[in-house]
């Protein structure tokens, strides 16, 4: 089953205007790496950029297994940029 991934406006702009994606993935990392904006989510070492927050069904993945959190196939994943800066 596919999971739904929703991205914020700036990433949607970089993905041709698309805000929502249906992807097949076994874990959160796989779901994010399936996106056309994966280069904006991960650095060159393959680490999730520190100011990128990820929620699975409204729960912060940091409270679970991070981006190694397993998926059953029906979840909604949201990418949210940290609120910071000016």
């Amino acid at each position: 089953m596919a999971v739904t991934v929703r991205v914020p406006g700036l990433l949607a702009d970089q993905a041709g205007g698309r805000k929502e994606f249906e992807v097949e993935a076994a874990d959160v990392r796989g779901a994010l790496e399936a996106l056309p904006v994966r280069d904006l989510l991960f650095d060159e070492r393959g680490e999730l950029r520190p100011l990128v927050n990820v929620y699975v069904d409204r729960e912060d993945v940091r409270g679970r297994d991070g981006i190694e959190t397993a998926l059953s196939g029906s979840e909604t994943i949201r990418v949210v940029a940290a609120i910071a800066g000016g």
Binding site: G9, L10, D13, D39, L40, R45, R49, V52, A84
Partner: protein, 362 residues
């Protein structure tokens, strides 16, 4: 074709469209909103932007349809063996043919041979033998100046804060420091080291062979022998050693423009960079017409009083006759002189903080 000004700002990329006289300007809606555009340029109908976001990192973005759509370049990242990670994309410089260069932080250089679709790190520079003597500037260790010889594709000059000027004459396979005569006034033990100078901007004159100009943290310089020797110039009439941008005239090799900040002079043993606003409480552009042997204030039309900042990428010149000079301020104004500094026009105001200015006939 009327000129356009590409303005990189903290809040996206703006384009100003001018009339043929370069006196009337209109501002278009911003592109790349949400991105800090450190530098933007145009080449053969393609727009390039070194665009950074504090969440999503450093990118180079390209548009072939006038900015309606953008594609990110691939390959931007530093190999694990370097121990470095890419911080910011600083400056995009089209080379000959399909080659495009990217200067980045920390002290990095990338090369593309497919018009910017893909980049590869230039390891010969990134792992330069002198790297352990480079220092980061206040804005990070940035490769900000890339000057490609107009007729010799393998000859490239780069400027890095604070590593100095380097020259490659083999297409980037090797790099030689070219800093003799440029001071590191902030150094306690060696004011004239081989590397470690805080170069702010380097420009190669397109027609006068061997001539480059440099605005440094510690002075303004000119070389006539491809960087083998630099002559320090600010004691010839400039109010300060410190500043960021410099502009030149492609028709008049002896003409250059700087915007001094602070009120310090390296010849008096002082190091600038403490204030970082335009000297004397005015927005003062200084011009030389004799290769830096004398400088005069060329600020007719510029605000006074004013305490303004202009960044290293914030000044440019066009290829017209008379040459137009353009610069943008961190307070969001764009100024244009259509007559080589004779008078200035405020082409735009109330933009976000200006990070870069380039001129395109596009």
């Amino acid at each position: 074709m009327a000129p356009s000004i590409l303005v990189g700002t903290r809040k996206g990329l703006f384009v100003l469209r001018g009339d043929e006289d370069r006196r009337e300007w209109t501002v278009e809606e911003p592109m790349l909103s949400g991105w800090e555009v450190f530098h933007a340029t145009e080449h053969d109908g393609t727009l390039f932007a070194a665009a950074n976001n504090f969440v999503y990192g450093a990118t180079v973005q390209r548009s072939t349809d006038g900015g309606k759509t953008w594609e990110r370049s691939e390959g931007l990242g530093l190999p694990e063996e370097t121990g470095l990670t890419l911080e910011k994309a600083w400056h995009v410089e089209p080379g000959h043919g399909d080659t495009v260069w990217l200067g980045a932080a920390p002290g990095a250089l990338f090369r593309s041979d497919d018009r910017g679709a893909n980049f590869e790190p230039v390891m010969s520079l990134i792992q330069h033998e002198t790297r352990d003597r480079w220092n980061p500037g206040a804005g990070g260790m940035c490769t900000h100046s890339i000057q490609v010889h107009p007729t010799e594709p393998d000859t490239i000059y780069i400027g890095i804060s604070a590593a100095g000027v380097f020259l490659s004459e083999d297409g980037g396979q090797t790099w030689a420091p070219k800093n003799k005569g440029t001071a590191a006034d902030f150094s306690e033990d060696d004011r004239f080291p081989e590397v470690g100078q805080c170069v702010h901007k380097v420009l190669l004159h397109p027609d006068q062979e061997g001539r480059l100009w440099q605005q440094n943290h510690c002075g303004v310089y000119r070389t006539d022998d491809k960087g083998e020797n630099w002559e320090r110039l600010e004691d010839n009439g400039l109010p300060s050693s410190f500043g960021f941008p410099i502009a030149i005239n492609h028709l008049k090799p002896d003409q250059a423009f700087v915007i001094p900040e602070d009120s310090v002079r390296g010849s008096e043993g002082e190091v600038g960079g403490g204030d970082r606003v335009t000297t004397g409480g005015r927005l003062g552009v200084y011009r030389t017409d004799d290769g830096g042997q004398s400088w005069e204030l060329a600020s007719n039309g510029l605000p006074d009083p004013a305490w303004v900042e202009v960044l290293r990428e914030g000044m440019a010149s066009d290829r017209r006759d008379p040459v137009g000079i353009y610069f943008g301020t961190k307070s969001g104004s764009i100024f244009v002189s259509p007559d080589e500094g004779g008078e200035w026009i405020e082409a735009a105001r109330h933009l976000p903080a200006v990070l870069s200015v380039e001129v395109a006939e596009w």
